[in-house]
């Protein structure tokens, strides 16, 4: 119904590509000019060659699938739980006051410290990865939702109250749209944190996936292969962000941040 305003302009895409090329070029030049040793930071060309080998390996694609499964499941759980908890806590002052200290206490606990516990509870499979991913990504969404909920315009809120909108209608039509820009940022943050944790969990626990491949490359002193895999992680992040931006343009077309750019 609502076409996204001037979707991605070709100019923007070109600029983005230019930025990436700049990065690749830097990585090519740094080791070649001797600023760092090519043994530790191989030039882009060698990384790309290693990448090509990876891409030809069936096992790589299976690992990628495993990682993405853990990522997607974990992220989905974290986002749903974060939004539900955030809306609940954010809109009920009592809950907010009562949970604040606990939340602040739990948030800084590193997922990596929980690895032994996770393995003890869920073994070395997907369960552990999920636990770590969800634990880390959940807070990102929650905090954003909490900040988003308090952003409701007082006049909007009074309007909703005066027309006696029910709880659900208020959440659906007032709280949610107001918090949405914050939530979008939260989801984008959580998406990469989830990817990071999925990979880290595999790296440490050894459950199959990109992470365990990175671990193998590390212990094997296979530097180009390691960077090739890191590059994959980076590219995944890029794709995820592209998707998030597309969703944002559709979901937030009414918001100043998106519509402001159409006019300027």
């Amino acid at each position: 119904m609502t076409p996204p305003p001037s979707a991605t302009r070709p100019g923007a895409a070109a600029l983005g590509l230019a930025g990436l090329l700049g990065l690749l070029l830097t990585v090519e030049v740094l080791p070649r000019s001797g600023v760092v040793s090519a043994d530790y930071l191989p030039p882009t060309s060698r990384i790309v060659r290693a990448l090509a080998v990876e891409l030809n390996d069936r096992a790589f694609w299976r690992a990628l699938g495993d990682t993405l499964t853990g990522w997607a499941l974990g992220l989905a759980i974290a986002v749903v739980a974060g939004v539900v908890a955030g809306v609940l806590i954010g809109s009920v002052p009592f809950l907010r006051a009562a949970t604040a200290s606990t939340i602040e206490f739990l948030r800084p606990i590193p997922s990596v410290a929980l690895i032994p516990l996770a393995v003890l509870l869920f073994g070395t499979g997907l369960g552990s990865t999920l636990l770590l991913v969800v634990y880390a990504a959940f807070w990102q969404v929650l905090v954003q939702v909490l900040y988003g909920i308090q952003d409701v315009d007082p006049v909007t809120r009074d309007t909703a109250r005066s027309y006696n909108l029910g709880t659900w209608a208020r959440v659906r039509h007032v709280l949610w749209p107001t918090a949405l820009p914050y939530v979008m940022t939260g989801v984008r943050l959580a998406a990469s944190v989830a990817l990071i944790l999925a990979i880290t969990a595999e790296l440490v626990i050894g459950s199959p996936g990109l992470g365990s491949r990175i671990a193998v490359a590390q212990t094997s002193q296979a530097v180009p292969e390691m960077y090739a895999l890191i590059m994959i992680a980076g590219l995944l992040g890029l794709l995820i962000n592209l998707a998030a931006r597309t969703v944002e343009r559709r979901a937030l077309f009414w918001h100043q941040s998106v519509r402001g750019e159409a006019v300027l």
Partner: protein, 304 residues
């Protein structure tokens, strides 16, 4: 790289005749080549064990994996096992893992320095910064033994924790003065012109037992037959690996990504079939001196 039958089958069902699924947590390094080789050769199958090898980064995942029963067996260095034992972690070592070659200057691990480093012997490490992969573990304990043996004061060595794979770069950049490194990092450093100034494993004891396979005490009690079968198969694998270095080098390429050029120069460790009890006693004593244990580990409990 391994996708056959997954573990978690009923371990108690390990009667002879049918195969028991067994999951082993290993670290994807040269040291565990025998078990990969043995699996490939069918040694484990022969003993009724359907083996799944899961590579993990280290003890943080393998030990809880074994304790929780997710893994039936795990691979760990001896010092870690001793520490665990002293902390009453219910573990039981079941089979030998890997041992030092016992040859000074030709071990699979050693204390390395940069090409142009003035350091000549372990005694020179006094007041220097030495990288080890884990502090308060086999690395610093054995390096200290080397320093002591060379006539230096081990308490004046400064240790820094650094993963093996980052040691070549750190050494090269002068961020550390020396690095205790094992293969394939050792080969990498040597290729850059680095020198080995001491073989710390050799300095601890001749034919030092470095690592072992272990299980949980619960599993050992519950399925002694499986443990027995695993021990037998591992013994066979170790012996085979020890006498077939070429096959070892080949099998390593199946589970690591060690570049061919490096692998060629990798010094293979020894894989004796049995652990060397007296060397473990020495390690335990060194650990006690370094304050690794609050309570002295009970070696009779721990070892098979």
């Amino acid at each position: 790289s391994d996708s056959e039958s997954t573990g978690g089958g009923d371990p108690a069902a390990g009667g002879s005749g049918k195969t028991t699924a067994v999951k082993v947590g290993v670290i994807p390094i040269v040291d565990v080549a025998p078990i990969y080789l043995g699996k490939e050769k069918g040694f484990y199958e022969k003993h009724g064990i359907g083996l799944t090898l899961t590579p993990a980064q280290g003890g943080a995942a393998i030990v809880p994996g074994v304790v929780s029963g997710d893994f039936q067996f795990g691979f760990s260095n001896v010092t870690s096992l001793l520490v665990a034992q002293s902390k009453k972690v219910p573990l039981k070592a079941v089979a030998n893992g890997v041992a030092s070659t016992g040859e000074e200057g030709a071990d699979f691990g050693g204390i390395t320095v940069k090409k142009d480093s003035p350091l000549r012997s372990a005694a020179d490490l006094e007041g220097k910064k030495v990288a080890v992969n884990t502090l308060k573990n086999i690395g610093d304990t054995s390096v200290k033994a080397s320093v002591e043996k060379a006539g230096g004061d081990p308490s004046r060595v400064e240790f820094v924790e650094l993963p093996f794979d980052q040691m070549p770069a750190a050494l090269d950049a002068g961020q550390v003065d020396a690095a205790w490194v094992v293969e394939p990092g050792l080969a990498t450093i040597k290729a850059q012109g680095g020198r080995v100034i001491a073989s710390n494993y050799v300095d601890v004891a001749p034919d030092l037992t470095v690592a072992m396979y272990f299980t949980s005490t619960a599993y050992a009690k519950q399925s002694p037959e499986v443990v027995k079968a695993f021990q037998d198969a591992t013994r066979e694998s170790l012996a085979y690996a020890d006498s077939h270095p070429d096959e070892v080098r080949r099998v390593i390429t199946t589970y690591t990504k060690i570049p061919e050029a490096t692998l060629k120069n990798v010094t293979l460790p020894k894989w004796p079939a049995e652990p060397n009890r007296s060397s473990i006693d020495t390690l335990a004593e060194l650990g006690r001196q370094d304050g690794l244990f609050t309570e002295v580990p009970d070696l009779d409990e721990l070892l098979p």
